[in-house]
C-alpha cells in the first residue's frame, strides 16, 4: 500500500469535491422546493432537505479538507446542532400553523382550512373524550 501515499491528497480532494457538489445540489433543491411547493407543510418538507442533506454533505466535505483538527470539532458541533434543532423548529412551526387554523391543501378537495381546526379541537380535550367514552 505504500504506492498509494502520494495519491492520498488527490483522493481526498476528489472526495471533498463530490461531497461539496452534492451538498450544493441538495441546497438548491430545497430552496427551489420552498418557492414552488403549494402550502406551508410541503414547504417545511422541502426545507428539511436543505437542513439535513445539504448541510450534512457540505459539512462532511469541509471536514475532509480540515483534517483532524479543532476546525473539524467545530464543524461536528454545527452539524449536531442542525440535527438536533431543525426537527424541533419544524415541529413547533407545524404545530403552531395547525393550531392557528392553517390547514394543509389537498388535491381535489380544496383547502381544509376550516375542517382541520375542528378535528384538532376534538383531539385536544382528552378529558372530554374520556368522559364521553372512546368510540369503539
Amino acid at each position: 500500500m505504500n504506492w498509494l501515499v502520494p495519491w492520498l491528497p488527490l483522493i481526498r480532494d476528489i472526495a471533498s469535491w463530490l461531497l461539496l457538489l452534492s451538498g450544493s445540489f441538495f441546497f438548491l433543491v430545497g430552496a427551489v422546493g420552498m418557492v414552488r411547493m403549494p402550502d406551508v407543510y410541503t414547504r417545511m418538507h422541502a426545507v428539511s432537505v436543505t437542513e439535513t442533506l445539504g448541510c450534512g454533505l457540505l459539512i462532511a466535505g469541509m471536514m475532509l479538507q480540515a483534517g483532524f483538527s479543532q476546525v473539524t470539532g467545530k464543524l461536528f458541533v454545527i452539524g449536531a446542532l442542525f440535527f438536533l434543532t431543525a426537527p424541533v423548529a419544524t415541529h413547533a412551526l407545524a404545530q403552531a400553523a395547525l393550531h392557528m387554523g392553517v390547514g394543509p391543501k389537498l388535491q381535489d378537495e380544496g383547502d381544509l382550512g376550516e375542517a382541520m381546526p375542528v378535528a384538532f379541537d376534538n383531539v385536544e380535550s382528552r378529558e372530554q373524550i374520556e368522559q364521553q367514552g372512546r368510540p369503539s
Binding site: 441546497f27 438548491l28 436543505t50 467545530k74 413547533a92
Partner: protein, 101 residues
C-alpha cells in the same frame, strides 16, 4: 488544497438565500415567513463556514454555532408571539380544561 472548490457551494448557498427571501416576501401566511427566516439563518451559517474555508481562515465557525442557537430561539419567540399574543404566556391548561390561546 485549492480554495477555489468552495466557490460553487458559496454560489449555491447565495442562490438558496435569495429564493428564501423571495418566499419570505410572497409568503401568504406568517408561518411561511417564519420558515423562510429559519432557512435564511441556516443558509447564513453554512455561508459563514464556506466563506471561512474560501478565504483560508476557518475561525468564524464559532460565530456560526452562536448564530444557530439564536436562530432556534428566535424562531420559537416569533412562533409563540403569533400563537399566544405575548411572550410571557405559560402554555399551561387552565382548571376548566380550556387552554389559553
Amino acid at each position: 488544497m485549492s480554495e477555489a472548490m468552495y466557490v460553487i457551494p458559496a454560489l449555491a448557498i447565495l442562490t438558496a438565500m435569495f429564493l428564501a427571501v423571495v418566499r419570505a416576501l410572497m409568503g401568504p401566511t406568517v408561518f411561511d415567513r417564519v420558515l423562510a427566516a429559519n432557512a435564511i439563518g441556516t443558509s447564513a451559517i453554512m455561508l459563514l463556514a464556506v466563506v471561512g474555508f474560501l478565504t483560508g481562515r476557518p475561525e468564524w465557525l464559532d460565530v456560526g454555532i452562536t448564530y444557530g442557537i439564536l436562530n432556534l430561539i428566535g424562531t420559537f419567540a416569533v412562533l409563540k408571539f403569533f400563537r399566544h399574543g405575548n411572550l410571557a404566556h405559560s402554555g399551561e391548561v387552565r382548571d376548566d380544561g380550556e387552554q389559553d390561546r
